[in-house]
Symmetry: C2
Subunit: 500 residues, 2 copies
């Protein structure tokens, strides 16, 4: 991986002086076009060995481009708000919007490499992390992002020389710390770990660019040209699609599926309903106040066709909770700032801290439901969404979040009845719009989309609970009972950790 | 303040049962209209003595209204991200956008009242804080917000009885903590402090509503009706303008003002420029790495007419900084999420943590410059902006932020020359738009606006530095030197704290 970065690449002063003005002008032009078009974000990762020019490279980018539209993100120890959320949350919140360039000084690679060197991560765990990263970057690339990952390399001897030179110069001496010298001792381990990581994550959609760090002019010119070339190609739309898109699903439209198999005749009489409702609400309230929950978080996602009773079910859960402890997130059309980010960003931003809950009224499944059926996104987009959603939910669970997903199902006839009933009520808020009637006509398409969704995203850790919602009482109690049981199960102390 | 809240107000069961359905329907309708129109946010503060029904009131609001568009914000100890920013930052980030209702369980009143009781705040300091709060709430009201501040009251004996009752019921026992009983002992001090605070902040634009907390039905009905009435009135646009708007400024257009008095003939030759630039950049770099700066933050605001050289000056400052330490914030048209918030929100969100810097390329002064001249806001809006901006900057300084403001001034002729020069350059990014030419025609109006701005917002702590920018070299060095000198002065250890 690093062989050609130890050849002593150099650029002489005259060549450099001749090349820079045109390069800068071209970079500024490309950046201007990026900003004007605002079609994609640029993510530049700056990594490598100490003294190989990471800081200098960032300075060069700032000098050669318009610094107002560059953002540099540095990541040291996570803040408490970050530590109480899934691992990737701090990177999601730092993603540049479309039209901007985000320079990551430190990234999602820093911890895995450091942990591997320190021996906190075995080879298998490391590979699993790299696999997650590949999928994350593929998602970004599929969302249109241009990703450039730089690794600045020095030979061991080269690094020693460089650190000594820097220490002698009062302008750079402060940058050589005790840790720099300590890390020089683990140079070989770093090369092993980094080499492995770079090979595993050197994908067509997010390639590594290894740059020799010995000569400042060579390094700057290389970075400048790589950034320019990639920017120009991406702007011209010639980028490699990269990520292999799955073949279209073979959709069946037969009469036997998870929805048609449901028994919608379940009911619950008023008296039983009231008793059970109070019982489960009391239980839920207790569970959320338990000390075990203080270290976890709860995320509930509600999906269901129009008038299936999502709002009513949510209110029954909310009634058992402390308003200071949860937020309800009604998912509607994305805002301008959300549209400038990858699809899942709008959900990441609402993830709760530990000890808190978020209830999503409609969710990230919109991509494979309404967006698929209405054609709001391309087929490739919703096809890849299944895997991206599974990755997302996996990350939630790894962080200790308890995720519960509901699909509320009612029959065609019951939906019609509820629409008509709503039309009779004079509260404006229940008005049935033309859109609702239009959605009804799409029921077969939604039906197929829901079956695909459940098949493809019901996992052992995050199963779908399909709720027979024909009878509201029955549905509400089933929802509450499910929430309690899933919470109880998740909060129960494990006797045998290995079996987890 | 609390006299009429100790009369034993009660509502009997039948009255309550009769009143609630219509009240709920009306509340839902009003909330629906609020959401559809999205013209203003609603801020409901919930405060009062323990056991007087704060939590119950929040539950009632959630039960009677649509919980999806309610957000409850609870404030305990600040997170580290909050602690490193001005005091009010955590409240600004929690403000509900237009069309939504934010319920504040705990608010900007909690700390002052608690600190006053604990003796950490003397009467003078408390009054100063209340004055700040009045100005903050006036700003919110002027931005259109509906603010309702509830105080739930119990007599001392009433509170004791209430706590005992709650302790006996297993459903509420958990809410009575050791602190509840401790606080009962300081009941009289709380009444004194809260009474004073309520009287001082009982403004027409953000009134206190004191509610007796003994009877659940009375309390719920009162809150529901107050919220409904206020919502309906605000929606109907009949709200009291409240905040007294200053009379229009008597603008002078004579030839003698801070701008015409400038000597624009200053120049700096290339050689001196390069020496001084390097010297001040080195100094700046040192200052920002100093341990004293680690506990402060730096905010630089650049204003100036088109082509005055803001970008160039910013690049010269940026060149001396570590990219991981600062952000440049180019201020352009607000995003949708920003338009749904008070004017200053878009700047609050970018405030740096300690040890970091933010450079604003155009700033919060847009309100009294471009928005005033182009008529993007009403006269009342920009007139009140002077005071709001002074308040904002005062809060920045109180938090330890170092604020430096520059106005870059060039002559009419020099601007014309630079426009023509830019038109000749083929880099697209320097294109001169029709808007730039149009702005030029407004130069007299801008001139008057700048003079007013400097007069009204140059304070001892946050003075404007007017930069003669006719010669770019001179301007850049003056900017850098000013930044260094202001930083040095701010970071110098004070020998006599009293004189500060």
């Amino acid at each position: 991986m690093f062989e050609s970065a130890e050849l002593g690449h150099r650029v002489d002063k005259a060549t450099f002086r001749d090349a820079v003005p045109a390069l800068r002008a071209a970079l500024l032009d490309a950046q201007f076009e990026l900003r004007e078009k605002s079609q994609f974000p640029v993510i530049i990762l700056i990594s490598g060995v100490d003294g190989a020019g990471k800081g200098e490279t960032i300075n060069v980018l700032y000098e050669w481009m318009d610094p107002r539209y560059l953002t540099t993100l540095a990541f040291s120890a996570p803040s408490d708000e970050e530590a109480e959320r899934p691992y990737m949350w701090r990177y999601w919140r730092a993603l540049p919007p479309k039209g901007r360039i985000g320079v990551f000084a430190g990234s999602w690679y820093s911890d895995p490499i450091r942990d591997r060197i320190a021996g906190h991560l075995d080879q298998g765990d490391l590979d699993r992390r790299m696999d997650q990263i590949n999928r994350f970057e593929a998602m970004l690339a599929n969302e249109g992002a241009l990703i450039l990952k730089f690794w600045f390399h020095l030979s061991k001897e080269g690094q020693r020389t460089r650190l000594k030179t820097m220490e002698k110069d009062p302008r750079t001496a402060w940058r050589v710390t005790k840790e720099s010298w300590t890390r020089l001792k683990t140079y070989d381990q770093l090369q092993d770990a980094a080499g492995h990581v770079l090979r595993m994550t050197n994908t067509p959609w997010a390639p590594w660019i290894v740059v020799e760090g010995t000569d400042d002019r060579y390094r700057s010119l290389t970075v400048g040209r790589v950034v320019l070339d990639a920017l120009q190609k991406h702007l011209a739309g010639t980028r490699d699609p990269g990520y292999p898109v799955a073949p279209p699903l073979g959709l069946k439209h037969d009469v036997c599926d998870v929805l048609t198999a449901l028994d919608l005749s379940h009911t619950l009489d008023r008296k039983t309903y009231e008793t059970e409702l109070a019982q489960w609400q009391g239980r839920l309230s207790e569970l959320l106040r338990s000390t075990a929950f203080a270290q976890r978080s709860l995320i509930i996602a509600f999906e269901g066709s129009d008038a299936a009773g999502k709002g009513g079910a949510i209110r029954r859960i909310a009634a058992a909770m402390d308003a200071r402890q949860y937020q309800i997130i009604p998912v509607a059309a994305p805002t301008e700032e959300e549209r400038a980010q990858p699809y899942l960003w709008r959900f990441w931003r609402h993830l709760p801290r530990t000890g808190r809950a978020a209830i999503f009224d409609r969710s990230w499944y919109g991509r494979v439901l309404v967006e698929r059926v209405e054609g709001f996104c391309s087929e490739a987009d919703w096809l890849r969404a299944y895997a991206e959603i599974n990755d997302f939910e996996h990350e939630l669970q790894e962080s200790g979040a308890i995720l519960i997903k509901f699909w509320l199902q009612i029959s065609d006839e019951e939906q019609l009845r509820r629409f008509r009933e709503r039309e009779k009520i004079d509260f404006k808020r229940f008005k049935i719009t033309a859109e609702d009637w239009r959605n009804r006509e799409q029921r077969p398409a939604y039906h197929a989309a829901v079956c695909d969704m459940i098949d493809r995203t019901s996992t052992g850790q995050a199963p779908w609970t399909i709720v027979e919602a024909e009878d509201k009482n029955y549905a509400r109690v089933k929802v509450l009972r499910t929430v309690c049981e899933r919470l109880e199960n998740a909060l129960r102390p494990r006797k045998n950790k290995d079996k987890d």
